[in-house]
């Protein structure tokens, strides 16, 4: 894939990436005959943002001979690349190095060029098969108006409730009838339908959704100076935010709304499904390889990634990568939002810490001092819908089957995911991350 943009359009792409970065920590890029699509999913999988740039925004747009292409890259290096876009006059995006790197070439004023290579974490994509045009309630308004609504709530607010009736719309930070904390300040904003450009609400509906992603999209709408369209059905069914600009840019944010049975999202923030597998053979290999080799390997990876941090490069997924499609399917098999994402998303720091503690605990429990030989498996069983391997790349037969065929692997050597690489290094002290592991007296028994 290779496409080039003129400076002004590149700035819009940069804005899009900035607002997507507020949704998720990974960026999914997909190119097809219609144009370039960028997607991001939030860690709780309650919001998917998708921004589509039409082909006419690009000066040149080349697809690989095989047709579509898609990749997943980490958001953090991306943000760094697309910062300070003022001087940029020309931008080129391409996938290079046998589809392992996403290359960004920026030509700035005074003949300065910036080149960045971002490691492609995975070749997968997320799709959703939620019908996006069947909502009965449609509200369209200027970004300024919606910005004012969002600004009248505290920035630390997590949820926003919209109560739409045919003759008024009220935005609240609480749910009517639900008991709130005694120290909680309730705020609400009542608006008349005439303030909106289009207001079509047949029956009253009350929806509650996460405000953070909504704000991220508002920011992009402000950059585009475009209108936003809010579409929703009822509590529990998805809420859509759409931005359209001259048919060139189409954005869609799908937010899950609170179902009437639940109490609140924020109380529902359960630990997400985390599975961490450490296959034995790799663990043994790691044990046999000295620390020097380990460091070397790391350094090589670090050199490979110009901009991304080492962490990103170390994110090697064990999942089998689906083979690339040989022909260009115009429509990808759609799946439900819930099983769309196969990715173990980068956890919040708190989660990471908790995991580290869990790792150390598990190690203590198993009484095996050398960390390299430990095989740790965490299964957080939860009755959430099962996470599936992506099937959208499936191509051999046209049937949209949910079963995943065993796909050929990459030529590269298989590496285990090493998110918590420190835990598996020889120098790792299992107890170290625990804050309450203060040693009051030196241990007399060296065995322990």
């Amino acid at each position: 894939m290779k496409c080039t943009l003129e400076g002004g359009n590149a700035r819009i792409v940069a804005k899009a990436i900035q607002s997507l970065s507020k949704v998720g920590k990974e960026l999914f890029i997909e190119a097809d005959i219609h144009g370039l699509r960028m997607r991001s999913i939030n860690p709780t999988q309650s919001a998917v943002a998708s921004i589509c740039f039409h082909r006419c925004m690009f000066d040149t747009f080349q697809l690989p001979p095989s047709g579509d292409c898609c990749c997943k890259i980490a958001m953090k290096p991306c943000l760094g690349v697309f910062r300070n876009m003022k001087q940029v006059e020309h931008c080129e995006l391409s996938i290079v190095c046998n589809r392992t790197k996403f290359q960004v070439n920026l030509r700035c004023k005074l003949e300065t060029t910036k080149q960045a290579l971002i490691a492609i974490v995975d070749e997968l994509n997320i799709t959703s098969d939620v019908p996006t045009d069947r909502s009965s309630n449609i509200i369209r308004g200027d970004h300024k108006l919606l910005m004012e609504i969002s600004n009248s709530f505290n920035s630390s607010e997590e949820e926003l409730t919209l109560e739409a009736t045919p003759d008024s719309l009220s935005a609240k930070n609480y749910i009517e009838g639900a008991r709130v904390n005694d120290k909680f300040m309730r705020s609400q904003l009542k608006l008349k339908p005439s303030e909106f450009d289009h207001y079509q609400v047949a029956e009253g509906a009350v929806i509650t959704f996460c405000i953070k992603e909504f704000r991220a999209f508002l920011l992009f709408a402000e950059a585009l100076n475009a209108q936003l369209t809010l579409e929703f059905e009822d509590a529990g069914s998805p809420f859509f935010v759409k931005i359209k600009k001259h048919r060139e840019i189409e954005c869609l944010l799908i937010l899950s709304t609170l179902s009437p049975d639940d109490v609140s999202f924020s109380e529902d923030y359960r630990p997400r499904e985390i599975s961490m597998c450490n296959s034995t053979n790799v663990a043994q290999k790691r044990k046999s390889s000295g620390p020097g080799q380990d460091v070397q390997q790391k350094r090589r990876l670090a050199e490979d990634t110009t901009l991304s941090d080492v962490d990103t490069a170390l994110f090697q997924f064990r999942e089998h990568r689906p083979e690339r499609p040989s022909e260009a399917p115009s429509v990808q098999p759609a799946r439900l939002l819930a099983d769309g994402d196969t990715v173990d998303l980068v956890e919040e720091e708190a989660d990471e810490e908790a995991l580290l503690l869990a790792v150390s605990d598990a190690m203590e429990a198993s009484q095996i001092p050398p960390p390299g030989s430990t095989e740790v498996c965490f299964y957080n069983t939860e009755d959430a819908p099962p996470t599936l391997i992506p099937s959208q790349m499936e191509h051999n037969d046209d049937e949209e089957d949910e079963s995943i065929p065993q796909s050929p692997e990459r030529e590269r050597e298989q590496r285990v995911r090493t998110i918590f690489s420190r835990c598996f290094q020889n120098t790792y002290v299992p107890r170290e991350p625990s804050p309450n592991s203060q040693v009051y007296a030196p241990n007399s028994d060296t065995e322990d």
Partner: protein, 291 residues
């Protein structure tokens, strides 16, 4: 127990918001005392870690509120005493500040009981993007203080001072004290009846004295007999206070006033007074520290 008040003037609403913002900068919680004629706010952060001083504001209800109705819980009581988060109150009133982007028609304050007692701040706002007024409601949760606990929520009295000087450059004073904070932990206010105020900050290396001269003399005590008048003319008092406390007060001020009255009670306290309107006054007391 009932309370409702309504503001209509944009200028007054903005001042009221500035008062709330000042309180929010000083302390987490504020006490609201509602009387028949006056409304009072007190902030007194008692924890030693925070260095904010005691500040109270008295608002004549007639000045700000064309409509003001207060019915105490029992007919023999004179007040309603409420405790609330100053931050919440300030946030709830923040909509009144946005003068240029949108205009506020009216702002109502109402004591309500929804699950818990709260003060509802109901603002009717007209944004420039549309002609329709919209309603912004914030329910600030409050704690109603029973009459038995009132003795601990009494409005402070302005201490008697020997000398009161009016300093016309509040902004200068603020930045000056902010800088002196880094030099000395205590700051000496030295005033004289000739209309001079010296601010002295001493460190091991240097003594910094800032002289404000030709200040307006608001009050000198005991001007009874001619001999006393002569003595009063030569009166000089000084008091040293915690610089951090003074700085916290001046930094918290969100009001546009430029003049502040500084009363000095010899080696006991500094009494600061900001006249926002004739019936709206902000006071603060900085206690003296021993050197």
């Amino acid at each position: 127990m009932k309370f409702r008040a309504k503001m209509l003037d944009v200028l007054y609403m903005r001042e009221f918001q500035a008062i709330a913002a000042t309180l929010a900068k000083l302390a987490k919680d504020c006490v609201m005392i509602l009387g028949q004629e006056r409304m009072h706010f007190i902030v007194n952060e008692e924890h030693c870690s925070t260095s904010s001083p005691l500040v109270w504001v008295s608002i004549g209800s007639k000045d700000y509120f064309p409509e003001y109705k207060m019915t105490p819980a029992r007919p023999d009581e004179d007040f309603i005493v409420l405790v609330m988060s100053a931050m919440h109150l300030s946030r709830a009133l923040a909509v009144l500040r946005s003068g240029t982007s949108s205009s506020v028609h009216s702002c109502k304050l109402k004591l309500k009981q929804i699950q818990f007692p709260c003060i509802s701040v109901i603002a009717t706002v007209v944004s420039p993007s549309s002609a329709e007024p919209r309603e912004v409601v914030h329910d600030v949760p409050v704690t109603v203080v029973p009459a038995s606990d009132w003795p601990s929520f009494v409005l402070p009295k302005v201490p008697s001072t020997q000398l009161v000087l009016g300093v016309p450059s509040l902004r200068l004073l603020r930045s000056l004290i902010d800088k002196l904070k880094n030099i000395s932990p205590s700051l000496i206010f030295h005033g004289s009846a000739t209309g001079e105020l010296n601010l002295v900050a001493e460190s091991e290396m240097a003594t910094i004295t800032t002289r404000f001269s030709r200040l307006l003399l608001h009050k000198v005590n005991q001007p009874q007999s001619p001999s006393a008048t002569a003595a009063a003319a030569a009166l000089e008092v000084s008091c040293s206070v915690d610089t951090r406390k003074a700085s916290a007060f001046f930094n918290a001020l969100q009001l546009p006033n430029e003049e502040i009255m500084i009363g000095i009670d010899k080696e006991r306290c500094i009494c600061l007074q900001l006249d926002i309107r004739s019936q709206v006054v902000l006071h603060s007391i900085l206690p003296a520290v021993c050197i």
